[in-house]
């Protein structure tokens, strides 16, 4: 804020009608001129009301709606969820009354083998989607960065999957994975000679976890590619030219220049995607409903079932808090690592 914004508002009506622009005006004085102009256009009714308010008060006035909204839809529900996690509350049986159960819900969640299974499934999904998306995304970005003929068209084509709705993607991949008529099975059969109807991507215990990894990778690799592309294009050409003068080969250039300079971008992409995939729900529900059995039942799917199908509100609140702390803690550690990489 400072002097620029304060002056015009406080003394809006005492400002001369037209302040001529100095041709050598600095950036700050340009902003001041804009602010003065805005102040002049402020209706007298409003100007009279805010006259006499301090900078800080005006600042609070501006951000108050956002703060209130945040408190109402973020902070309050979070505190309320923490409270509910210590009770046996059931949202569908409100009349039953609420009892304080202490840490019992947390104990139940942390000792439930099914929930640990969900966490393992989520871990598998995270690990492999991140691995594939980073490798393929970086590779595609590197290729697109070559500026070959038609690279713009290819960029658009590659970006298409991430523009679709996850529910739609999940749904149409169930058809692609269909053993008898599915395109995916047909292509695999065509190249390997295996009978397409002899394997079931979403019905097999062994293949289903990979089926969801493939679809997520197909959909979100373009996102990683886009961020990597931004990283690659931010590397100045003179660094490569200097490396060439120093006699560095392509491999050395890649390891010593390209990778280190793209790494912060890559890590940022991984952070965004990992948080998203930790919460992954819609795509997998449409694809497998968590099946066969519970083989692809991610933590978020089980959480939804506990909260809104079984209506164990207290228990699911504890589960949600545990997931929140997990992702929040991991993200914080990761961000610190990211900052260290950026400082190098």
């Amino acid at each position: 804020m400072g002097k620029v914004s304060a002056k015009p508002v406080l003394f809006a009506n005492s400002i001369p009608a037209q302040a001529p622009m100095d041709p050598e005006m600095t950036n700050s004085s340009a902003s001041e001129a804009v602010a003065i102009g805005a102040a002049k256009r402020t209706p007298e009714v409003i100007a009279r009301r805010v006259r006499g308010l301090s900078d800080r008060a005006i600042a609070w006035l501006f951000i108050a709606p956002t703060i209130v909204l945040l408190l109402a839809i973020n902070v309050f529900p979070l505190i309320w969820t923490v409270y509910l996690s210590f009770t046996n509350y059931k949202a569908n049986r409100a009349a039953r009354g609420v009892e304080w159960v202490g840490l019992d819900n947390y104990r139940r969640v942390l000792t439930d083998s099914d929930i640990w299974h969900n966490m393992l499934v989520t871990g598998h999904f995270l690990l492999w989607t991140m691995t594939f998306q980073v490798l393929i995304g970086f590779g595609l970005a590197w290729l697109i960065n070559k500026n070959f003929k038609g690279h713009g068209v290819w960029t658009t084509v590659i970006l298409l999957p991430m523009m679709l709705s996850p529910a739609v993607v999940g749904n149409f991949w169930t058809f692609l994975y269909q053993p008898q008529i599915g395109l995916f099975n047909y292509i695999v059969g065509f190249f390997t000679g295996v009978d397409p109807s002899s394997f079931e991507m979403i019905g097999s215990v062994n293949l289903a976890p990979w089926a969801i990894v493939i679809v997520d990778t197909w959909m979100w690799t373009p996102y990683v590619m886009l961020i990597c592309l931004a990283g690659l294009r931010s590397i100045p050409d003179y660094i490569y030219e200097a490396a060439e003068v120093d006699g560095a080969g392509p491999l050395r250039t890649f390891w010593s220049i390209t990778l280190p300079m793209v790494l912060p971008f890559l890590m940022l992409a991984v952070l965004f995607r990992a948080i998203e995939n930790f919460k992954m729900f819609d795509l997998v529900v449409e694809l497998t409903s968590g099946g066969p059995g519970s083989v692809t039942e991610l933590a978020s799917i089980n959480l939804k079932r506990e909260a809104f199908e079984k209506w164990r509100t207290g228990l699911s609140s504890a589960f949600a808090i545990i997931l929140f702390v997990t992702v929040f803690g991991a993200a914080n550690i990761y961000v610190k690592a990211l900052n260290r990489v950026k400082q190098r």
């Binding site: 569908n92 053993p179 409903s289 968590g290 099946g291 059995g293 199908e309 164990r312």
Partner: protein, 441 residues
């Protein structure tokens, strides 16, 4: 200014008046919520008579089956006013009654001389009463239903297939009388080429997300004599839920799934069963009787090509109950109009028309009619099925109980994890925890 007032005031008044008039017209509408399926279309047709007689308009909120419970239970739990009437699943009656979602209808029935004796006892027990069997009515039986079977009658009649079957199994190829016979027939058709196409044995329910695999597997479990409790009302499940017969039945269902379903049939419910049959993939399929009128009319596989049979027994004759009662929602502002609909719907003449349009009436005036059995090719089987129907828990905690069973059955049958005994043991653990939470154990 004067001119402005002269123009604006009448306009505003006219707008307000039309709004009020619109609202008055809307006050005579009621909304009925149900699943989106064939019988719902029949009900829309039937309800036109109600509107013609009473002037009360009918709106409908139909939700596809996979989302029906989720959507409607959320509506009830949030005290929503979307529905004035609801044709809710039979298992919801406990929650509907205990949580105050449904209006108790006893006084209304007494006042309007609606007798529950006019409806088939099994349907009154299943769709209307809570606690079970007590004369506390929260719904009028609206749509009788059970899980049944249909088959390719034209394939069964082919001499070459008849001969091949007889040679292999030593009996005629005919609708099965037992579950084991059903599996024989399914195995016989599995992978067999008929008219140049590869066919499969059977389409059964394996769906994971809502209620599919439970509704399918209980068809086998009930046939083997499965019980939820040793003593009704005591929640003593050990030895009942995991009895040797229950284990055998569950193993059977898994074998049937493994041996005789089409490839990729891992998450299939009503629609997938219909699709598999209508596309000529399978020789037999399970589904609710509610779909049978539509199947019989189907141009490709209906008419002479289709036959129907009741769920085969094994140790006992039993079928999985479907169907629903119609309830008045306690949160509705139009309960009087909703009750008026129920009074109209309970009339024998309306019930007869309901059956003729494709709805399964539970009224004795329809079911006891001498011509009923011959009125449709599946009518006799429907009566037979309704004689031996069994339902899932109808407890207020039904959703928790159902989801546990979905998980344990799918883990065992489709995902190949553990044994049948382990699946049922884990189910008892889950259910015990639920009943402990409920304070019933």
């Amino acid at each position: 200014m004067n001119r402005f007032f002269k123009t604006a005031v009448p306009l505003v008044l006219a707008t307000v008046a039309s709004g009020v008039a619109g609202k008055a017209a809307k006050a005579e509408d009621i909304t009925l919520c149900w699943a989106a399926w064939d019988p719902a279309n029949a009900l829309v047709e039937l309800s036109k008579d109600f509107t013609a007689e009473t002037g009360v308009g009918m709106k409908f909120e139909f939700v596809p089956w996979p989302n029906f419970a989720d959507r409607m239970l959320n509506e009830l739990n949030s005290g929503g006013k979307l529905c004035d009437l609801m044709i809710g699943d039979s298992q919801w009656i406990g929650g509907g009654a205990e949580n105050g979602h449904y209006v108790k209808l006893n006084e209304f029935f007494d006042k309007e001389n609606i007798s529950m004796d006019d409806f088939a006892p099994a349907t009154v027990y299943a769709y209307s009463t809570w606690p079970k069997g007590e004369p506390n009515y929260y719904a009028l039986p609206a749509m009788g239903d059970a899980n049944g079977w249909f088959y390719r009658k034209d394939w069964f009649a082919r001499p070459d297939l008849q001969a091949a079957f007889k040679e292999k199994y030593g009996r005629d190829l005919a609708p099965p009388k037992t579950q084991l016979e059903l599996k024989d027939i399914a195995e016989f058709f599995q992978g067999r080429e008929i008219d140049g196409q590869k066919r499969y044995g059977v389409a059964i329910f394996t769906e994971r997300g809502s209620e599919g695999i439970t509704m399918g597997a209980t068809g086998a479990l009930y046939a083997w004599g499965f019980k939820y409790e040793n003593t009704p009302g005591k929640y003593d499940m050990e030895g009942a839920v995991n009895s040797p017969e229950a284990v055998e039945a569950l193993e059977f269902y898994k074998e049937l799934y493994k041996c005789c379903t089409p490839p990729g049939y891992t998450d299939s419910y009503m629609q997938e069963s219909l699709d598999a049959f209508k596309s000529g993939q399978v020789a037999m399929a399970m589904n609710w009787f509610a779909f049978f009128p539509g199947l019989y009319k189907d141009e490709q596989v209906g008419g002479d090509k289709i036959g129907f049979f009741v769920n085969p027994g094994q140790k006992v004759e039993a079928s999985t109950l479907g169907g629903q009662g119609i309830s008045v929602i306690a949160y509705s502002d139009k309960k009087d109009l909703a009750l008026q609909y129920i009074k109209w719907f309970a009339q024998p003449e309306v019930q007869k028309k309901w059956w003729s349009l494709g709805g399964y009436s539970c009224h004795v005036a329809v079911l006891n009619d001498p011509g009923f059995k011959d009125s449709q090719p599946f009518a006799a089987d429907f009566l037979l099925a309704m004689d031996g129907v069994q339902d899932f828990w109808q407890e207020p905690a039904y959703a928790e109980l159902l989801l546990s069973m979905q998980k344990r059955l799918h883990d065992y049958v489709v995902a190949d994890q553990g044994t049948a005994k382990e699946a049922l043991d884990k189910l008892i653990e889950d259910w015990t925890e639920v009943f402990q939470d409920e304070g019933k154990l």
